[in-house]
């Protein structure tokens, strides 16, 4: 059976809160996975001595990096909340109120992001 005759899902089939919850969880996970090598590379600067790491940290002490850091904190919070949602769904068997859970997860992530911004200055 050729593949072109088997119809595929499109966005209209996927447009509901639990799906967006899944998308946020997946995208934040990919974002964090991409960040990790950078993180280890930055920490690795310490191997060449305190000055190397401090130099790098001074270089990152600007508004652009603060903004990126805010994004990172939001990604972490999103991924944490998304993971808790899946655990609640799978281990506690929570059936209903998924829409609320997805909204709460997103709200939690934004709240953490705001808290970070307050402390960023």
């Amino acid at each position: 059976m050729p593949l072109d005759a088997t119809h595929r899902l499109d966005l209209r089939a996927r447009n509901h809160p639990a799906y967006w919850g899944f998308v946020l969880h997946r995208l934040s996970g990919i974002g964090l996975a991409l960040f990790l090598p950078l993180h280890f590379w930055a920490l690795g600067q310490a191997i060449q001595g305190e000055a190397a790491l401090d130099g790098f940290l001074r270089w990152t002490d600007n508004a652009l990096f603060k903004f990126a850091e805010w994004g990172l904190v939001v990604l972490l919070a999103l991924h944490l909340a998304g993971g808790l949602r899946v655990m609640a769904l799978e281990f506690l068997g929570w059936r209903a109120r998924q829409k609320d859970l997805v909204a709460a997860s997103a709200g939690f992530a934004l709240l953490i992001g705001l808290l970070f911004l307050f402390h960023a200055g």
Binding site: A5, T6, H7, R12, R14, H16, Y19
Partner: protein
């Protein structure tokens, strides 16, 4: 009758894009149909076949939401066409788009081959195996499970599935992994796992574990969202995952 005719006279025509083709491929054909106030999407498909193009292939039987054979993609979403009022899904521009169910091989036009879907019910151990009887035997008497008991209610939660394939056609995991058993087959397995009269629990949990089984589910919950009977296959799959997890922790439970 006069009232219906009047409504038709006044009504504008809707444009219905219907996917026509077969296993080799195909494309959309457009039909103009009367914009009746009170008609289902299935009524429209029937109108096209009876009045405009008798070569259109589609599938239906009961017309009242009992058989589950008329499911199609209506404006990109899998639905029972017999239980979908056209006026509720038609776009503001008066168009409808009809395609055969996703994730299933097309036979022709709007009819898909449901064989892979039902084959997976068998693979998931969807057959009831009486506890007190050997293979294939009918036991002399079934244990009575009171309808109000928790055990019975757990088994009843997913038992109303009529196998329409809407969940299967809405599932991303089926699209990603053609071997994935899919929400309906796993929901059936979970119903039997919860049935205290069933004796094939161990084998069934083995059948639904692993890459093609419940562990592939990413909890996107499209199955639960789209099920026309408001069943919750997503929770059924989560239940299977839980049962397999706890069984793994039992002494000798990993086999």
């Amino acid at each position: 009758m006069a009232e219906t005719e009047l409504a038709e006279d006044k009504a504008l025509a809707w444009t219905v894009k219907v996917w026509r083709g077969d296993a080799a491929g195909g494309g959309f054909a457009e039909y103009a149909v009367p914009a009746r106030a009170n008609q289902t999407v299935l009524d429209i498909v029937t109108h096209i076949q009876r009045e405009l193009d008798p070569s259109l292939a589609y599938r239906f039987a009961c017309r009242v939401g009992m058989c589950g054979s008329c499911a199609m993609e209506v404006n990109g979403r899998a639905r029972w066409t017999c239980r979908t009022h056209a006026s509720k899904v038609v776009t503001e521009g008066g168009t409808l788009e009809l395609r055969p169910l996703a994730n299933l091989p097309v036979i022709r036009d709007l009819a898909t081959d449901m064989a892979p879907f039902f084959d997976k019910w068998a693979k998931a151990g969807g057959r009831f195996q009486p506890k007190d009887a050997k293979d294939g035997e009918v036991p002399a008497d079934f244990a009575v499970v009171p309808p109000a008991s928790k055990k019975r209610q757990e088994a009843d939660a997913g038992i109303e599935c009529i196998g329409c394939g809407v969940c299967y056609a809405s599932c991303d995991i089926v699209a990603w992994n053609p071997d994935y058993l899919g929400p309906a087959a796993l929901n059936r397995a979970w119903t039997l796992v919860n049935d205290v009269r069933d004796g094939a629990r161990r084998g069934r949990l083995d059948a639904v574990a692993g890459d093609a089984g419940c562990h592939s589910c990413h909890s996107t919950q499209s199955c639960t969202e789209r099920c026309p009977k408001n069943l919750d296959p997503s929770s059924a799959i989560a239940g299977l995952k839980r049962s397999i997890f706890w069984r793994f922790l039992e002494p000798g439970g990993d086999r």
